[in-house]
Every structure is written in C-alpha cells, then in structure tokens.
Homo-oligomer: 394 residues x 2
C-alpha cells in the first residue's frame, strides 16, 4: 500500500538473496525504520520481540528464516531444529506453523545442495501468494461494504476494527483492511473507528496505515465500541484472526470477543477476514483448546510512544542493522529525527498485571467469514463449503 | 481508608472553615498531593479538570464550593449563579445536582447573615452522610460476597471492577470497593481484577487504593475481562455508577457495558453499587436520555504516567496551592521527589480521536443493585421497593 505516496510491500527480499528488508513495527508510527534480517536468529528475534507481527506476515517471514538457516546447515536435522525454534516464537497464530510446514516439506524433498534455492523460491511464492490472497479477500469484502453502502443511500459508511489486520500485518493489502482499502479506492466515502488495542496500541499502526493511504479514521479506546454501536455509529465490524477453528471459533487480539458481543446486542454485522492458512482444521473448541499467549506484564504497566522532541534515540535494538530503505522513497522523509521514544508507567511501582494477548470469539457471535474464496457463515458447514478439499470422512 | 498505614478521608475540612483539603487524583498513584480549595472557583476547576472525580465525591466537594461562594456573595442571585457554574462542571453525574439542590434549598431558607454557617453545616452533613451510606453499601455487598465465597468452599474469591469506585471517589469506603474492603477486613481471601480503564487509567487509582489497604489485585487491560470470564476466573463483577435511571439503566465509565455483556454471556453475576443520590428518578431510558460527556481527544491520544527518575516536577497546576497534609502522616513519605511525570503519544501526529467518557448498561444486563438500603433487582420495581417514598401516582 501507499507509504509517503509510493507503493511498498512489508517484505522486500534482497536481490542478492542475502536477507529480507522488513519494517520495524515497534518504531511505527513515529518512524519508518527498515531492518535487514539475514539469519534464522534474526527472524526468530524479530517475531518474538514483535518487530514484525500479524499472523500472515510472521508466517512468510518465518519461511525466509528457515531458508536462511539452510545456508548454514542444510541437513535434515538442522532444518528440523530451526523449524522448532521458529515455531516456538509465537504460540497462537497458526499461519506460522502452516508456512513452516510448507517450507520444511519443500526443503526435505530435494537434495541438500538444492535446498537454499528451493527454499528461496518457496518463500517467494508464499510471499506472492499472500498478496493475491489478501486482494481476493478485499474483493469479496467489498461486495459486503457496497451492499451496506447502497442501503445507507449514499451516506458515509462507518466500519469498526480492532488491532491491526492491515497491510503491514501481511505482505500487502491486509486482511480486515483489504475491503476498506478497495472501498476507499473505488470512491466510496468510508470512515474507520480504530480501537487503540491495548496493551501494545496496534491501533496506532492501523491509524498510520489508513492515514498514509488517505482513509478517514478516528481512534477510540477499546471500551468505546459498545457505546458507538448503541448509537448507530457503526455499520459493520471487520477484524482479522490469528487462528480459526474447524467449527468457526475465532482466536484474535484480546478484546475481539467483547466487540462481537456488542455487535450481536445491537444488530451490527460482525465479520472476520482471514486467509486459508489461518484455519486450524485440527481444533474444534476454540475456548477450550487454543493456548492463549501470556506476554510480559510490563506491556500493560508501561505505555510506549513519542515523547516531546529531544535527543534522537532510535528504536533499533542492538544487534540488528538499520538500513535506508531501497527504492524511490527519499530517505530524508522517513524518520522524524527530533523525535524521542519513551514510556510512562501509570501504575504504582508494586502493581502486578496479567497480559493475555488473545481471546476467543465463539462462532455464534460472528456474522460471517470473508476469505479469498468468498463469504461464508462462521460454522463447520460454512468453512467446508469453501474448502471442500478439507472435508474428511467423519 | 488506610494510606501509608493511617486512616484518611478524601475530604478534610479546615477547622477554621477557610477551605477543604482534597487529594489531587491526577498525581496519584505517584504522589499523595493534597490541595487546599478555598473558593467556588477552586472547586469548579478541581471538578472540571478532574483533580477530584467520582460521582459521590464531586457532589460533596461542589457542596462546599457553594458554601464558599456565600462568603463572597450571600444573595439569592449569587447563590443561583454559583449553583449553575458548579452544575456545569460535569454533565453526566447526577449526584452533583442532588448535592447542589440540597445546598441551595438549605441556603435560601435562611437569612443572608446565617447562610455561610448553614451551608457549612449542610456540607459537613453531606460529607458524613456519604461515609455512612457507603459503609452500608459495603455491609450489604459483603453478604453477596460471603455467599459466593461459601459456595467456593474456601478458595479465593475473584472480583472484577472497572474504573475507580473506591474510597477516593467518595468521602470514604467507596461504593463498588466498599464490600471488597469489608470482605478483606473480615479475613476473606479476595483478589480484584482491576480494569486499567482507558483513557484516564483510573485503574491506577484502584490499584493504588487496594495496594495501600493490602487487598490483592492484578491490573488487566479493558479488553481482558471477557477472556477472564470465559475461563472461570471471575466470580463476580462490581462497578459503581454515575447515574441510574428510574427503570435501572446504568450510566458509568465507558466500557462498563462491554463487561456486563460478557458477564451475561458467561453467567457471572454483575452488580452495580450505588448510593441513593445516584438515582435519577426523572429519566427512564438511559441510552436515549442521558447526555454522554465527550472529553478532550488528547486524553485518548496521550498517556500520562511516571517517567524514569529525573527532575522533580510536581503536578500542581498553577493557581492552586500545594499543602503538606495535616495529621499523623510523615510528610517525607508522601511523595517520591525523584519522580517525574510525563506523557507519551503512541499515535501519528495527525491522528484524530473521539473520547466518549461514559456508556449506558441496560438494566437487563445487571444482576442487581447494591445500595445503602440493601440488594435489589435492576428494575423500576426493584428500585421502588427500596425507595417507596419515591413512588408517585402514575
């Protein structure tokens, strides 16, 4: 999507195959900091520390990570070891396992000497596949937005989204935001309520993305959605997903469930946008079966952001390399060098916190799924009708 | 309740009747900053800028404000003018109007020369009345907690609360926290899930209060409550209220409605604790009729808290006087002089936000009310059964 007026993908593979450029999402929205990841270790760290985040994106980045590992150790055992390391970086998103499984299968099928080239081609294909998939999600979602818009006889459409399921959470287009970008590009007046999405404030990423692309939006606290829906200020909710079970339960950023409850209570359509690798066909009961990542309480107790202008202290973590982005973006425009990052702690020093990263929204609360193959009800039958090849004998 | 090991009320009237000492809640939890309010202007500012907050507290503070105004102008017109100024400081809480009505009635009933003394006595009575009322709420709420605790056969009770309805939101005891304090004091093992309550993070006040009194607690983001309830980690929700309608709809801090939805979906009892001045007998439909205060978007876009130790920059706003608190609290323990306050902005500079301060929870989602007269269903009949003197002919 557009950044500073030019098109960019969130992953750019180096033409010499020495690494991939990714956007350090922790520096957003204050600076567009581009990092080069060259090893599986770089990749594991970038995922674990959430320099890259978003279920589709971490799958593709992990695929490149497994490819890089082959350059150092192309043995079956080496591949298996790196596979396990990368898989352990985030426990909830299922796209990660899907991408790593694809890669491992492709790598083990060829002799050691061919493994790097095969891995590189496979990772590139996963990358391009993600873009095509998300564009298709956008096209299908657009039909929903258009029919809502037609019913409003021309007045502005209001969509609420939670967390960031935009283009930077994928390779391009995003999942939940893809229909919104296409609606905006088609000239439809559309406005997005952006949940701030505590504790990591991924709403700032969504606000940044939408602002860069010129889509109208307003940030609200995570508690506000119910009030907005009670007063007719939300026409539709669209969120992404980290994992969807075979019967249609949705694991997504903590707080998604509360928005789905409010949507049902107020008759607001609640859609989940997802690509097929997000479906975990091995799990039925989302609440009972999906492990919910508990992250560091400091994410709750401290809030990170721009401080008043002061010393330029960059957010690049030690050991990773900051590079000027390639391409036509003038480097001078990429950062705000007088900006300083910092955090504040609203709590007493002794306060303890718990930091559950995701929750599960039961299928019964979801109006439908928007996938690259179309729209379907959030149910076992709905998912099977779109992916008949996955139907097994009972 | 206990602060630094000694008992304190949130309002202490000066014995020379020149002013009242209040706690600057914006400095909490980082420092116990005590401010002297001497004029109606001081009081209006303290309420408007949320140095004092909490529906019961602002009612009592406003009462003193009207009393101070009488010292300068004891005429009917002067009283009326100050009444209107104070009433306009916060539009949602109904206790404010209730307390000001009580005061105005008492002042206008006596000759000008007696008005200050009458006003002072009336404000003192409102202050003491608030303490007695909240203690009674605590006693009634304790019976609910005890019966839940008995059913858990001795394992720790988990209560979730939203915002701050503790002793610093009142004169003492609090509303939602009163039963919790009494349960703790009675030796019951009780743990509180504290919603951080964006955008102003009043959860920090609740965490501070509970910590000072020794009650176990854990802060969670506002989005976490649904997940906690899905997993059986919440035995009961108790919140306060800014206004309750005659049919039992509850206006309270933004996000209360979402917690009530989750409680219903998971069979968790959801109680609202309130004193009688919170009931607005003139309003039926909370969603349609209660004006929801929209506050400055900067409260959403910036987060305020303690920065790493640096220059001691006190949070006392210009024009108000910081005083050492009276009584047995050693002044040296009251502040952390090396602490600096500041804010960070997680959003792009151009981002817009909306800041709705309250929402309305329909009566149907509420298990019951805890008032100073007992427990009652959240319905017109329930409220009338407790306050039969309010029943009018249809």
């Amino acid at each position: 999507m557009r950044v500073l007026g030019v098109h960019r993908r969130s992953i750019i593979a180096a033409t010499d195959q020495r690494g991939i450029e990714v956007i350090d999402q922790r520096a957003l929205p204050h600076a567009l900091s581009i990092l080069m990841l060259r090893t599986a270790g770089d990749v594991a760290r970038a995922i674990r520390e959430m320099l890259v985040r978003g279920a589709p994106l971490i799958g593709v980045v992990a695929a490149y990570g497994l490819c890089f590992a082959v350059r150092e150790d192309a043995s079956d055992a080496g591949i298996e070891r790196t596979y396990r390391t990368l898989l352990a970086t985030r426990p909830t998103a299922v796209n990660l396992r899907w991408a790593l499984d694809k890669m491992r299968e492709a790598l083990l099928a060829v002799p050691s000497a061919e493994r790097f080239d095969t891995g590189w081609r496979c990772a590139q294909a996963l990358c391009d596949d993600d873009v095509a998939t998300n564009f298709a999600i956008g096209k299908h979602g657009l039909t929903l937005l258009r029919s809502l818009f037609d019913r409003k006889s021309g007045s502005r459409l209001n969509v609420l989204t939670h967390c960031n399921a935009g283009w930077i959470a994928t390779v391009d287009w995003g999942t939940a935001l893809a229909p919104i970008y296409l609606a905006h590009d088609s000239g439809m007046p559309i406005h997005v309520w952006v949940d701030e999405t505590r504790p990591r404030n991924q709403g700032a990423l969504t606000a940044w993305e939408l602002g860069q692309h010129g889509v109208q939006h307003t940030v609200v606290v995570d508690s506000a959605g119910g009030h907005l829906m009670q007063h007719g200020l939300v026409d539709m909710c669209i969120v992404g997903a980290d994992r969807v079970t075979a019967r249609g339960d949705v694991c997504n950023k903590i707080g998604t469930y509360l928005k789905a409850l409010a949507a049902r209570d107020n008759g607001v359509p609640f859609y989940v946008a997802l690509p097929y690798p997000t479906i975990d066909w091995t799990v039925e009961d989302g609440i009972g079966s999906i492990p919910i990542e508990e992250r560091d309480p400091s994410e709750v107790l401290s809030v990170y952001g721009a401080v008043d202008h002061a010393d330029p202290t960059g957010p690049v973590p030690p050991g990773l390399t900051a590079v000027d982005p390639a391409g036509p973006v003038p480097p001078a425009q990429l950062a705000t060098p007088t900006l300083r990052w910092g955090s504040v702690r609203p709590y007493p020093a002794a306060t303890r916190a718990a930091n559950y990263a995701f929750d599960v929204t039961p299928a019964k609360l979801i109006t439908g799924f928007i996938t690259e193959r179309g729209i379907t009800p959030a149910s076992r039958e709905g998912l099977r009708s779109l992916y008949p090849e996955r139907v097994r004998a009972p």
